[in-house]
Amino acid sequence: MFTRSRWIALALGGVLTAWAQEAPPSSLKVNLPADSPVGLVSAGWGESRTEARGGALVLDLHTALVLRNVSQQHIRGVSLLVLAQEVTPGGKASVAVPSLDVRPNETFPIRIDLRLLRPLLTGAGPYAEVSLDGVLFDNLSFYGPDRLSSRRSMTVWELEARRDRRYFKSVLEARGPAALQQEIIDAFARISERPRLDVQVIRGGRATAMASSQERECRLAFLQIPDSPLEPVSGLARVAGAEARAPSIEVRNRSSRAIRYFEIGWVIRDRQGHEYLAGSSPGGDSGLRLAPGATGRVSEDGAFKFSRPNGPQVAIEGMTAFVSQVEFADGAVWIPTRAAMDDPRLRSALAPSPEEQRLADVYRRRGLTALINELKKF
């Protein structure tokens, strides 16, 4: 017999069922090449959901893949391309997991927590496709189509991981566990206390609020890193209030090898003298080849806008640039050394490496002994 309250419950249930729909398990497709060094153990839709918005479908992906290392080498990093559709912004994403140590035949999970967009009505087929963009091995060899430049990113992360592990190990060996503990506490504080800034980058179209009367030319300062293969020579940006437009910087290759890619990090200073890492710009497209002694220029065609999280905009007083990574024509990569990071300005400007972030988390969750064991693994 149906009471009134059961009718209400039924009506509510009906409305809620229609409102948020869980997609069927076939909505996520995983494509791995036949000769892939990782095999798929399990994949599913998990707790993912879909929601129609205008003429688009928003996919909230929350799932995990379990992969197996079917190669004969240790895997250090994996990068996946997750595609809902190619054209509309927000249809393409990637998930990368660096700092791994997966031995042959071991399994490991990769969590996917993404929001993607696709047209509402595109016929049959899976909502999203996951494919392998690259796998980095312990000898820095790489497998994969590298559509997202995963090779370079993962090599940089792996070199940073080795640098930071080597540093923490040296502290442990030279000064003992107490010193290591102090170092990791400092690292944790640096990660959690670093100044945070919301950044919006606008390219093309009319998007800036910059009034020409307020605009001024800002000459960039540089953080010089002694062993950097690139030397910043000069730089300018147009600044008004919280907005910096069209920053550009000229660099000179002072190494003996040709350079095919580099990245410039930007630091902004507010009126109170606080400095924030504002972002980075890739220097060089697919055709770049900066010969030894040659100069090149990085220019951002858009505008950067800065504000404090949930707070007011940040009035820019000055800007500083530094070289954060370099890739040589032969594929070798340069990153700042740990000694260079002794410079307090560079130390506070650089984001912590993924490995430093992971080791700090190991200490926070499992303590000093677990951290020492983790360092001994490599």
Binding site: A11, G14, L16, G123, R358
Partner: protein
């Protein structure tokens, strides 16, 4: 031949365009087989979506419920006759006459509100023309947008998140609470 944008076809299939725009698109569809096929596919999917939306929730059988209600009403009336119950014609009867409609009204409002919410898809809010990348430590997280179309990805519920904007991608890096792995996600504008 220039083909119509997918978004225009979707709006056409969903009958969300003005009469003039619909007329212009219909003219184009007469000439362009590719767009016509695409529009027809969108229309079919739209019909299927509407059918799904109107479908009875799983486990609910309206016919059975209607039969059960009718039986309950008849049973109540028969029981009333057996015990000689007659509605008393006193002042108290009309006092509660409003009770059933008053209880039914909120349910009706709830169902209608649910139907309206389900039918109305909030449009993507255009903010800027051009390409916009965002990395925010507030709730909005990372986002990409091009010519007013795009989306944002909320912040992961974990400590020590690092955001970045680089090239045409916005990224977020954090240590996954379950696996302890560093996870780096990027959403691309192009």
């Amino acid at each position: 031949m220039t083909h119509l944008a997918e978004s225009t076809l979707a709006l056409y299939a969903g009958k969300e365009l003005s009469v003039v725009s619909r007329f212009r698109i219909a003219l184009h569809l007469r000439r362009c087989g590719r767009c016509r096929r695409h529009a027809e596919e969108m229309r079919r999917t739209s019909r299927w979506m509407h059918a799904q939306r109107n479908e009875t929730p799983a486990g609910v059988h309206w016919d059975e419920m209607a039969a059960e209600m009718t039986a309950n009403i008849r049973l109540g009336l028969a029981a009333g006759r057996c015990v000689g119950f007659q509605p008393a014609e006193t002042d108290s009867a009309p006092r509660f006459a409003w009770l059933s409609p008053a209880l039914a009204l909120p349910v009706l409002v709830l169902v209608i509100a649910g139907w309206i919410l389900q039918s109305w898809h909030p449009p993507l809010q255009p903010v800027h023309s051009g390409l916009v990348l965002q990395a925010s430590y507030s709730d909005s997280g990372i986002g990409v947008e091009k010519d007013g179309r795009g989306l944002s990805m909320p912040s992961p519920h974990t400590q020590n998140v690092v955001y970045s904007v680089q090239g045409s991608a916005a990224g977020v890096r954090y240590v996954d609470a379950e696996s302890g792995q560093v996870t780096i996600s990027h959403v691309y504008a192009q």
